[in-house]
């Protein structure tokens, strides 16, 4: 009897030990990757301290669509409350979730960001169901979205920036899916409702999407909810599209986007750099910071010697699968635009001859190191990292991970590598294999801008919306 008891005790203890180990290991797994039986990829970032859930749904555009109005109008027909006068099931579900959502339309995918409370997870799954089985395209809504297209477009706070980015992508990647961005009156006329429905049916599919959730969530409960909700959803074969290789227009161009307003001009300076996958990506970011950083960058520091005053510079990076784009936004006076373009060329020339100094190099690294740490306070920071990892198949996401010590960051890019890249790429000579596209778009009143141009001859594009 006693041996039986002992055996029982021992086996219980072993079981408890095993379970403890299992839970120890499981507790460490903050990110759970799942794929539903219908092909939806799911990533769940467990954050027990979070009292709300942040969700991002990415739907990829894979097939080349010649008419960008189709992509845009599909979103308008589904999500725009002005187009949907009576509340559709999608909009009503969103309202029940709190209506805290944002739609980001990119040339290669659409991203839907939603915040909601954890007790509304079932409602969120309902929303997903209504998103992937949308049947409420009507001619009335379609006509409304076409006829009021510009009115709705100007309701966007950042419509001006949107136009600039559309123009930039069109100039940088003409002939590729990524360059199909500009919507004109003619294109709107050539768009019909069946095209939208066909596009929706081909694109808004579970096996063409990625769902990322962050919050205090039980991954397996969510998985079950999704399986239950999409039980009747037809599983489709994943269509493989042959992607056309991205062709860059290797040239340098200056364009004035003539928007008739009296505010100060804004200069958007685009540069295409290697994608996140490449180690060179960081090299280019550092070089950009050495030139355009605020207040450490050479351009800001030396602007005063060129008589440029009140310069404000900000930079953002937009990542795509094969390339990344740096956009430096510069606000300045009309009379200083040409000077700024010359200053940039002169600073690049100097960098090439005199090489990057150790101080500038360390300052740039210090900035990135600090920025990575500061960004960690954003509630969607981890979601962005996971999105990038999935989108660009990253194994080493160099600058997204926070290095433990400052010394570690130096190992990513050395000063020598930086100078090597500079001597290869920063030239006027656009025949070099490492040369990447550059584009300057100046937004403002063209008459006033051109008055101060004495040497350069920019191309002028008039913006006519209606």
């Amino acid at each position: 009897m006693s041996t039986k008891n002992n055996k029982f005790k021992r086996s219980t203890i072993i079981l408890v030990a095993f379970l403890s180990f299992f839970f120890c290991l499981k507790a460490d797994q903050n990110i759970v990757n799942l794929t539903s039986s219908k092909g939806l990829k799911i990533k769940i970032i467990k954050d027990p301290s979070s009292n709300f859930v942040h969700a991002e749904i990415l739907i990829f555009y894979k097939k080349k669509i010649k008419n960008p109005a189709i992509l845009y109008l599909t979103i308008e027909n589904i999500f725009n409350k002005y187009v949907n006068r009576s509340e559709s099931r999608i909009l009503s579900n969103l309202k029940k979730l709190g209506n805290d959502f944002e739609i980001i339309n990119r040339p290669d995918f659409i991203k839907i960001k939603i915040n909601f409370l954890p007790d509304k997870i079932a409602l969120f799954v309902n929303f997903l169901k209504s998103l992937y089985s949308y049947r409420a395209f009507t001619l009335e809504k379609f006509n409304r979205s076409v006829s009021n297209f510009w009115e709705y477009f100007f309701n966007n706070k950042n419509w001006e920036k949107k136009i600039v980015f559309q123009l930039a992508y069109n100039k940088l990647f003409s002939g590729h899916l990524m360059g199909n961005t500009i919507i004109t009156k003619k294109l709107l006329k050539q768009t019909y409702l069946p095209q939208l429905q066909r596009f929706y049916n081909n694109t808004y599919k579970l096996n063409n999407s990625l769902l990322i959730l962050k919050g205090n969530l039980d991954p397996y409960m969510i998985s079950e909810l999704l399986e239950e909700k999409f039980k009747s959803y037809k599983k489709e074969k994943k269509l493989l599209y042959k992607e056309k290789k991205l062709q860059l227009n290797r040239q340098k161009k200056i364009i004035i986007l003539d928007i008739n307003k009296n505010l100060l001009p804004v200069v958007y300076r685009f540069k295409v750099i290697p994608s996140l996958k490449s180690k060179d990506h960081i090299t280019y970011l550092i070089i950009n910071n050495i030139l355009f950083g605020f207040p450490n960058g050479k351009i800001f520091r030396n602007s005063i010697y060129f008589g440029i005053r009140n310069l404000k510079i900000s930079s953002e990076i937009i990542n795509h699968k094969d390339i990344s784009i740096i956009c430096n936004t510069i606000r300045l006076n009309f009379k200083d635009i040409e000077k700024l373009i010359f200053l940039e060329e002169s600073e690049k020339r100097k960098l090439k001859i005199m090489k990057i100094g150790r101080n500038d190099y360390l300052n740039a690294l210090n900035y990135f190191y600090g920025k990575l740490k500061v960004d960690s306070e954003k509630f969607d920071n981890e979601v962005q990292i996971e999105t990038d990892k999935s989108l660009y198949n990253l194994k080493n996401n160099y600058f997204k991970k926070i290095p433990v010590k400052f010394n570690n960051i130096i190992h990513y890019v050395s000063l020598n590598e930086l100078n090597q890249t500079i001597s290869n790429s920063i030239t006027f000579n656009n025949t070099h294999k490492n040369f990447t596209s550059e584009l300057i778009i100046i937004v403002g009143n063209a008459k006033q801008i051109l008055r101060y141009f004495t040497v350069l001859k920019p191309e002028k594009i008039k913006f006519i919306a209606k």
């Binding site: 839970f23 009292n51 500061v374």
Partner: protein, 441 residues
């Protein structure tokens, strides 16, 4: 062997418990303490991030200015960025920028807030920079004169060329009539340039007074080390004057309806500005009024947009502003349209909406959506270091406690549509409104 076996199991259990605890406690409860000189410190650690926010909340603002230089504190919004004993002008701002962070200084009527969000390893530098700002700001007559001129020129230009600015200033002066918020934050425009420089310099003591400072450190930091550093840098002595604790009295809704028309040349749009006096931050009504604000004007759930632009297609541009005062606030709604007829219809619809809010409860579905959105916004703000710190400091200043999250959520959950109806009846009455119509000639 047996002992080893049991020890192993015991350790595994400990590991599991520790692991589970650390995972769940990314942020711990805030704690507060006082330095010997009277300066209050709040520490709010969050362990799963690598950034820190150093926020200094001064219980000093424009309301503390002597009457003859009312608005002088506002000059400190820029004067605070000037040089100190060891720092060049704007070096504080550049330090934050160079390290990928963000910073701001804002002087309000009731308080002044300065913060830096920096990577956690720079916290000592950030604290030192703040101690320099509090202890050794160099304010010369030349700098004061420059700032006086800048503020005068900027606001003079706005008053004479920007009709939105001019009308908003007028509406605020009327809705806050006979309160401390009546004059603009920069004071009387004609007086600014004649402010006495010596009196302006004396105001610096308001910002230095440790009894009037609440410092909040939130984010990642080592509590023991930070306490030592704070004690070392901020235990300065300050001439002991008896600091009279400011008493706040919530201001009641207005009792006079004001309606004014301006007819102006050379404007492209007709506009109508509605100002409604809103509750004090001290009152429970403040939270309930948020329901009305969200319901009417928040772009995500705005009923006004739905009625005017979706249902009646009036193409009205709706903007809103909500003040950030302690004793009384105002919700200012601006509607504009190039067509006068559309604006008149919009005004009619707004009046009707306000009337219906006073008569009937908000529908249950709308109320639920509003409640969710307000809760989401609050929780999102709690994840942002600067907003979290401001809320902590303000709550400690007004109510003396630190458990904002629990208190706020409890009160929010208890709110019912009847509470909202009561608040609508109290604050949306005609006598609590100021309307300014700006028409093109």
């Amino acid at each position: 062997m047996k002992r080893f076996f049991y020890a192993f199991i015991f350790l595994t259990f400990c590991c599991f418990i520790i692991n589970a605890n650390t995972k769940n406690s990314s942020s711990t409860n805030p704690e507060s303490f006082k330095l010997d000189n009277g300066l209050t410190v709040i520490l709010s650690p969050i362990n799963n991030i690598q950034a820190t926010c150093v926020l200094i909340y001064h219980i000093a603002g424009v309301r503390d200015d002597p009457p003859e230089i009312k608005g002088a504190s506002y000059l400190y919004q820029n004067l605070m960025l000037t040089g100190t004993r060891n720092l060049e002008p704007y070096e504080r701002f550049f330090f934050v920028q160079k390290n990928g962070g963000a910073s701001s200084i804002k002087v309000n009527f009731d308080n002044s807030i300065s913060y830096q969000i920096i990577p956690d390893h720079k916290i000592n530098n950030a604290l030192w920079i703040e101690s320099e700002r509090i202890n050794s700001l160099i304010i010369s007559d030349r700098i004061i004169n420059i700032q006086k001129n800048n503020i005068y020129k900027k606001n003079y230009r706005l008053m004479n060329s920007n009709i939105d600015f001019k009308s908003s200033t007028w509406v605020k002066s009327k809705i806050f009539e006979e309160t401390i918020y009546q004059t603009p934050i920069y004071g009387n425009l004609e007086m600014i340039r004649s402010f006495d420089n010596l009196s302006i310099k004396k105001i610096y003591n308001n910002f230095r007074n440790p009894h009037k400072i609440i410092m909040v450190i939130s984010g990642k930091f080592d509590s023991k080390k930070i306490k030592k550093t704070i004690k070392k840098l901020f235990s300065y002595s300050f001439a002991k004057k008896k600091t009279i604790k400011r008493k706040y009295t919530p201001i009641k809704p207005g009792k006079k309806f004001i309606n004014k028309n301006w007819v102006i040349d050379n404007i492209h749009q007709n506009s109508s500005i509605y100002a409604i006096r809103a509750p004090s931050k001290l009152s429970f009504d403040y939270l309930y009024f948020d329901f009305i604000r969200y319901h009417l004007v928040d772009p995500r759930l705005s009923e006004l947009t739905k009625i005017m632009n979706i249902k009646y297609k009036l193409d009205i541009n709706i903007k809103h502003e909500y003040t950030n005062n302690i004793e009384s606030n105002a919700l200012i709604i601006t509607m504009s349209s190039p067509k006068r007829i559309n604006l008149e219809r919009a005004k009619f619809l707004l009046n009707k909406k306000l009337q219906s809010l006073m008569n009937f409860r908000i529908s249950s579905s709308s109320f639920k959506a509003l409640k969710s959105l307000i809760e989401i916004d609050f929780l999102k703000n709690m994840t942002k270091l600067e907003k979290r710190s401001i809320m902590l400091a303000e709550n400690f200043h007004l109510f003396g406690n630190l458990d904002i999250e629990e208190t706020y959520l409890k009160r929010l959950k208890r709110a019912t549509s009847y509470d909202i109806l009561r608040i609508c009846r109290k604050y949306l009455s005609k006598n609590n409104r100021v309307i300014l119509n700006v028409y093109k000639k």
